[in-house]
C-alpha cells in the first residue's frame, strides 16, 4: 500500500481582534525556476549558496529605463554605476546596451578600461581620486567630476604638465527638500560655493568645463527632489552661458532611483510605493525642457542609475541548515547564507520564497544566517511554510550592491551564475577558496608552523 503524504505537525494560536485591513497574506508560491532554469539544478551545479543573475531582466530593465527618458528628451546617455555591481560580465551587458561607465575609484576606473570602455566615455566620480589616478583620467580624456577645491587645485596644477586639457564637471549638492540632505558630495549651491568653483574653472582657462553633476541621495522616494535638482543644475548651466559665456554640454543627474525592494519598517511593500522610472523621467525631462534652453542648446542628460537597473535581476539561492525554536517558542530557521554576502538585508525586507512544493500551513519565523554573530539576521519576521533541512529557498531582488559590498567573513563568498537570454547558464565568478583568501597573506619566518 502506498504511504500517505506526511506533513510536519503544527499548531497556531488564534487571536481574536480586528481584521487586518489589507487582508490576509496569500499566494506564497514556490519558485522552482529562474528564467526557465531549475533552482535545484543550479544548486546542484554551482553549490549553495549561489547568486544568480538574469541577463534577460537586466537588458529589459535597461531598455525600459532608456525608453522612459529617450521618449521624453532628445539627448540621453546612461552610465553604468560600477559600484552597484562591477562583475565584468554584468558591466559588459550594460556596455553592449550603450552605457558608458561611471566609476568612483582608481580600481573601478581600471576595470572600465579593461572592459574596453573608451576613456572619453568613463565618468570619474567620487571624493577620493589620487594624483596618479587623475593623471591617467586626463590622459584618457575621461570626464572628471570634481568633488572639492583640493581636487580642483590639484587638477589646475596637473594641467601644467599634461598634454590634454582635463575635461571636468563639478559635483553640486543642494537642498532638494528631502531629509537627510546630502551635502557631502561636491560644492554647495545655496552658499554659492558651486558658482565660485565654476568661475574658477572657467577663468583659469586650464580646464574644459563640460558638465554639471549631482548625486542627491539613494533609494529616493520623492520625484520632486529630482525636479529641484534638475532646476538647480539648469540654473547653473544657464548662468555659465550668460555670465561666463560658457556652454555646458551635459547635466548628470546621478543615480538614486529606488528598486521595488521593501525598506525595513515600511508600511507597504516597495512595489506598491516607489515611484517608477517613468515618474522620475517625467519630472527631470520636463524641468529641462521647460527651463528655457534653445532647442539646439539642450544639454545632454546623463543618468548614473545602478540599483533600479539590476536589483530585481539578481537572486540568491540557498539551503536550510536547521530549524530551532527560540525561548519564546518562535520558530527560527538557519540558512546557509549570512549577512556577509547579503549586505542589503540590513535595510531591506527581502522576499524569500521556498524553491519546492510545500504544505499550506505558514508560520511566522526568524531567518538567521550561518555566522556565529548576533547580527546575522536575514529576516526578523517572515511568514513562510514549514521548511525542512535541505530545502532550498530563493531570495529575491539582490542584484544591487551585494556582489560588491559582500565580504569574506567566517564563510567564503559564493559563485555567481548568469542565465543568458537563451536560458544557458554561465559561471561568471567562481566561489572563493581558502587558498584565494590566504594568497595575499605573508607569514613571518618565526611564526611558521614547525614541521
Amino acid at each position: 500500500m502506498e504511504k500517505l503524504t506526511y506533513e510536519k505537525p503544527y499548531i497556531k494560536k488564534l487571536h481574536a481582534g480586528v481584521m487586518n485591513k489589507f487582508g490576509t497574506r496569500t499566494g506564497i508560491q514556490p519558485v522552482k525556476q529562474i528564467d526557465g532554469v531549475s533552482v535545484k539544478k543550479l544548486i546542484e551545479g554551482y553549490g549553495s549558496p549561489v547568486f544568480v543573475l538574469s541577463e534577460k531582466q537586466i537588458r529589459k530593465n535597461y531598455r525600459s529605463a532608456y525608453r522612459a527618458f529617450s521618449t521624453r528628451y532628445p539627448k540621453v546617455q546612461f552610465a553604468w554605476s560600477y559600484k552597484t555591481n562591477y562583475l565584468n560580465a554584468v558591466c559588459q551587458i550594460f556596455h553592449q546596451e550603450g552605457s558608458w561607465a561611471e566609476v568612483v575609484s582608481g580600481s573601478e576606473y581600471q576595470k572600465a578600461l579593461g572592459n574596453g570602455v573608451p576613456g572619453n566615455k568613463i565618468i570619474f566620480n567620487g571624493p577620493g581620486k589620487s594624483k596618479e589616478e587623475l593623471k591617467i583620467a586626463v590622459d584618457n580624456n575621461s570626464l572628471i567630476h570634481i568633488d572639492h577645491f583640493e581636487e580642483l587645485n590639484q587638477l589646475l596644477t596637473l594641467s601644467k604638465e599634461l598634454v590634454n586639457k582635463p575635461r571636468v564637471a563639478i559635483r553640486v549638492n543642494m537642498d532638494t527638500g528631502v531629509y537627510p540632505s546630502w551635502d557631502r558630495f561636491g560644492f554647495n549651491y545655496e552658499n554659492n560655493e558651486a558658482w565660485t568653483a565654476l568661475e574658477k574653472i572657467v577663468t583659469s582657462g586650464k580646464l574644459q568645463l563640460v558638465g554639471l553633476h549631482c548625486h542627491i541621495g539613494t533609494y529616493m522616494l520623492s520625484t520632486a527632489a529630482y525636479g529641484i535638482a534638475a532646476n538647480t543644475l539648469c540654473d547653473l548651466a544657464m548662468r555659465c552661458n550668460t555670465l561666463l559665456n560658457h556652454k555646458i554640454e551635459y547635466l548628470d543627474m546621478g543615480g538614486g532611483f529606488p528598486s521595488t525592494n521593501t525598506l525595513k519598517g515600511a508600511y507597504l511593500p516597495g512595489a506598491d510605493t516607489v515611484p517608477t522610472v517613468d515618474d522620475f523621467a517625467e519630472i527631470i525631462t520636463s524641468t529641462l525642457l521647460n527651463f528655457g534652453f534653445a532647442q539646439e542648446d539642450l544639454p545632454l542628460l546623463i543618468l548614473e542609475s545602478g540599483r533600479v537597473l539590476i536589483d530585481d535581476a539578481g537572486y540568491l539561492l540557498g539551503t536550510v541548515i536547521a530549524n530551532k525554536r527560540l525561548n519564546n517558542g518562535k520558530r527560527a530557521t538557519i540558512m546557509d547564507f549570512g549577512v556577509n554576502i547579503l549586505f542589503t538585508s540590513f535595510w531591506y525586507e527581502h522576499q524569500i520564497s521556498p524553491a519546492q512544493d510545500f504544505n499550506p500551513h505558514n508560520e511566522n519565523m526568524i531567518i538567521y544566517g550561518p555566522l556565529c554573530m548576533n547580527i546575522d539576521v536575514i529576516r526578523e519576521s517572515i511568514n513562510l511554510p514549514l521548511l525542512n533541512t535541505g530545502d532550498h529557498v530563493v531570495v529575491h531582488k539582490v542584484g544591487a550592491y551585494n556582489m560588491t559590498q559582500w565580504m569574506q567573513f567566517i564563510t567564503l563568498r559564493p559563485a555567481v551564475v548568469l542565465i543568458d537570454e537563451q536560458q544557458r547558464t554561465h559561471l561568471i565568478r567562481t566561489n572563493e577558496t581558502l587558498h584565494y583568501t590566504e594568497e595575499p597573506e605573508v607569514m613571518p619566518a618565526h611564526l611558521r608552523p614547525s614541521k
Partner: protein, 80 residues
C-alpha cells in the same frame, strides 16, 4: 508527556484550553497526534503508527516530535 486533561480538541484541528481561554488551529497531522496523546497512547506507538502510514523517515519524525513537544509546551497544553 501528557496533554492536559481538560483540553478540548476537534477532529479538524481546533484546540481549546478552557483554563486560559486560548484557542489554536492545527494541521491534520497535529490533530491526529493530539488526539492520540489525549487518548493516552504512548509516544512509541504514535511514532510507530505514523511511520507505518506516512511517507516519512525516522530521523525526520524524531526531529518533528521534538519540535511538536516544544510547540505544546509553548502553548501551555502539557501537564506539568
Amino acid at each position: 508527556m501528557k496533554i492536559k486533561s481538560d483540553i478540548a480538541t476537534s477532529e479538524n484541528g481546533f484546540i481549546f484550553n478552557p483554563a486560559t481561554g486560548d484557542s489554536f488551529s492545527g494541521n491534520a497531522m497535529a490533530a491526529q497526534w493530539l488526539l492520540a496523546m489525549k487518548n493516552g497512547k504512548p509516544e512509541e506507538d504514535i511514532k510507530k503508527d505514523i511511520l507505518e502510514k506516512y511517507n516519512v523517515s525516522v530521523e525526520q519524525l524524531e526531529r518533528d516530535w521534538d519540535d511538536w513537544i516544544v510547540q505544546l509546551k509553548e502553548a501551555n497544553l502539557l501537564e506539568n
